[in-house]
């Protein structure tokens, strides 16, 4: 078996909300297993509705949350194993890009401070002159230059430009994995594609894998190699982007695909759209069963196991819409 860059093994995370009396538990991430191979860079998209655990999963990969159950391994180092954890190396290997570029940077600091801090404090560059060279080179790769960025404040840039700077900052450490949490959600349509194309180019140029979290299925289709669909914390479908989206195997993926406002394909009128319910988090059977048009008694009783559909595809459903090949 090939060496894994990132391996997520049956990971769960539970949050307790409410006060003493009205205490509730929410299983934000429920038994998720995913992996990314080392050696071959990929873009893995995680899609799903808000509240499905996309960001929680992300934060666990970034070590901002500790998983309750299961284990996450990065290049053979288990997250729970304190001895093999090297914070410095970890920061060089994994870098985040956040959602809203206007909130990523402080109003009071010049934007280049962030770039210099990353370059100098993580010890990538010894001197300021060295840092200048590295930063300028990296900024050129995202279509900007140090001359333009130097000494300017956040308000002097547009959202697209700021997002490019965040990407450049993440790239300074030559990471192996970049976690991009909704990186284009706050960017205008005319500039969105420039950023998304950048991911594709950088993947090849820097040999870096991306975990791209989004609810925008059309950019996910465009950019990603693999797609994982989350629903209520659980991973319900995984597979190569094109096959998964052209022929969804899970009824929820199908519902999601039919709800995207596409250009060139008008909605058929009045398909029933059941609303989401909070109690679905607590279900022990298939969590999608209450909304699923194909649900049977079996679905309402047991939790489906992961079914391998062949061709790198996986689905958690008793009645997958695609037969095993």
């Amino acid at each position: 078996m090939a060496e894994k860059l990132l391996e997520i093994n049956h990971v769960s995370k539970e949050f307790r909300i409410g006060g003493m009396l009205s205490r509730k538990k929410i299983l934000a991430t429920d038994d998720v297993s995913l992996s990314i191979d080392a050696g071959k860079p990929v873009i893995l998209s995680i899609v799903g509705e808000s509240g499905c655990g996309k960001s929680t999963l992300c934060k666990m990969i970034l070590r901002l949350y500790v998983a309750d159950k299961g284990k996450i391994t990065l290049l053979g180092h288990d997250y729970a194993d304190k001895k093999s954890y090297d914070p410095h190396q970890f920061r060089l290997d994994v870098q985040p890009i956040f959602q809203n570029p206007f909130e990523t940077f402080s109003m009071r600091k010049t934007v280049d401070t962030y770039l210099y801090n990353t370059a100098l404090r993580l010890g990538i560059c010894k001197t300021r002159a060295e840092a200048d060279k590295l930063i300028d080179e990296t900024l050129h790769n995202v279509g900007m230059s140090l001359q333009v960025v130097k000494g300017k404040y956040m308000t002097q840039f547009s959202g697209g430009e700021l997002q490019r700077i965040s990407i450049a900052r993440a790239l300074l450490t030559r990471p192996k994995l970049i976690i991009a949490d909704e990186p284009v959600a706050a960017i205008d349509a005319s500039m969105k594609m420039n950023i998304v194309n950048l991911f594709k180019d950088l993947k090849e140029q820097y040999q870096v894998s991306f975990i791209y979290i989004t609810h925008d299925l059309s950019t996910a289709y465009y950019v990603s190699d693999y797609i994982a669909t989350l629903y209520r914390g659980g991973l319900i479908e995984y597979g190569p982007a094109k096959e998964l989206m052209d022929e969804p195997a899970h009824p929820y993926t199908e519902l999601l695909m039919s709800a995207v406002p596409r250009v060139g394909d008008k909605w058929k009128e009045n398909t029933a759209m059941p609303d989401m319910e909070n109690k679905e988090f607590a279900l022990t059977c298939c969590k999608f069963a209450p909304r699923c048009p194909y649900a049977t008694d079996e679905c309402r009783k047991d939790r489906p196991a992961e079914t391998d559909l062949g061709n790198e595809r996986m689905v958690r459903c008793f009645h997958p819409l695609v037969k095993k090949t």
Binding site: A189, K192, M245, V263, M273
Partner: protein
């Protein structure tokens, strides 16, 4: 019908005026869904505010006016900018941006409904008004139990539906919706857009939707206008615009849309929209336009005119086609 007559509006600031809406001249017809698309900061929301006549300092109308006219219950009406306030709820209503957050979280929905809905007759008790509301909500597939809930107990989509129900309860002739589905999931978004479409079919009124999502416009609007930096660059039937855009900006924008089922290489538009404080003379898209010439950069902004029947655009290099 809403007629926008050479409307310009600006925000007054100490540093000078910011011209957010510049010389908009078009009509929104009766019984249609009209979409307004554009990037953030292009003046979509400000235009909608002037249509609804929420003109408060620092926003001011510099030139032109909005005329709202039509027939309701057999009576003709006509309001101009400055008087449109009188027609609120009855002839025109507004669903503001982030409508999920406009409700007071600690007041029950029914009390908030009673605040805005006038009595049918003097003798009507609040219970009777609420019964009317409950009946109306049932027609929209919304459980009347929602009325007894506090807004914080409802999901974002549910609140959005309740706000739309409130805005359309008096069956106004024009409903303005500012980004009605932003911040909602695709599945919920679809439910809400379907609800808006059904309402429009039922009342045969005018629905104006502002959204930055071109997919939303394609799905539900009949006609749409595309704004760039304060003014319209193209306006026409939605399907025609998507099939055959004529303005260079629209062409590039539609070419850049990612589509499911299409992995071919797409490129975005380089550059950024001009600052609205000191906009460049001439066409405001000139700096990003591949076809721009000195004429575009120096001559006054191109006129917004009918290029083909029913299709308007503002570009020096588009000549009206004579049939």
């Amino acid at each position: 019908m809403l007629k926008i007559d050479h409307l310009s509006a600006s925000y007054k600031t100490i540093d000078g005026n910011i011209h957010v809406v510049k010389d908009c001249n078009f009509e929104i017809r009766d019984n249609e869904i009209f979409g307004i698309a554009g990037e953030s900061g292009c003046g979509k929301s400000t235009l909608l505010k002037t249509l609804y006549d929420i003109i408060e300092f620092p926003l001011e109308i510099d030139e032109g006016k909005v005329i709202l006219s039509g027939t309701k219950n057999g009576q003709d009406f006509r309001f101009e900018s400055g008087e449109i306030r009188k027609s609120w709820w009855n002839q025109i209503s507004y669903v503001p941006q982030a409508a999920q957050s406009v409700l007071n979280p600690i007041v029950r929905l029914k009390d908030q409904f009673l605040d805005s809905i006038p009595k049918e007759s003097k003798e009507e008790t609040p219970q009777q008004t609420l019964a009317r509301v409950a009946k109306y909500m049932e027609g929209l597939n919304l459980s009347p139990d929602v009325l007894d809930a506090y807004p914080f107990q409802l999901s974002g989509g549910m609140r959005q539906r309740a706000v739309i129900a409130l805005a359309t309860f008096m069956s106004p002739n024009v409903v303005l919706a500012d980004e009605p589905t932003t911040a909602l999931d695709v599945v919920v978004q679809r439910g809400i857009l379907m609800m808006l479409m059904d309402l429009q079919k039922q009342f045969k009124n005018t629905l104006v939707i502002v959204s930055h999502d071109m997919g939303v416009h394609y799905q539900i609007t009949d006609r749409m206008g595309i704004m760039y930096s304060g003014s319209f660059v193209e306006l026409g039937p939605t399907e025609d615009i998507f099939e055959d855009p004529i303005h260079p900006y629209t062409k590039m924008l539609i070419g850049a849309l990612p589509r499911v089922g299409d992995k071919s290489q797409k490129v975005g538009i380089p550059g950024r929209p001009p600052a609205l404080k000191n906009p460049p003379p001439g066409c405001r898209f000139a700096a990003r336009c591949p076809k721009a010439t000195d004429k575009c950069r120096q001559d006054p902004a191109p006129e917004f005119r009918e290029i083909r029947p029913g299709r308007f655009a503002a570009c020096h290099y588009l000549e009206p086609e004579v049939n």
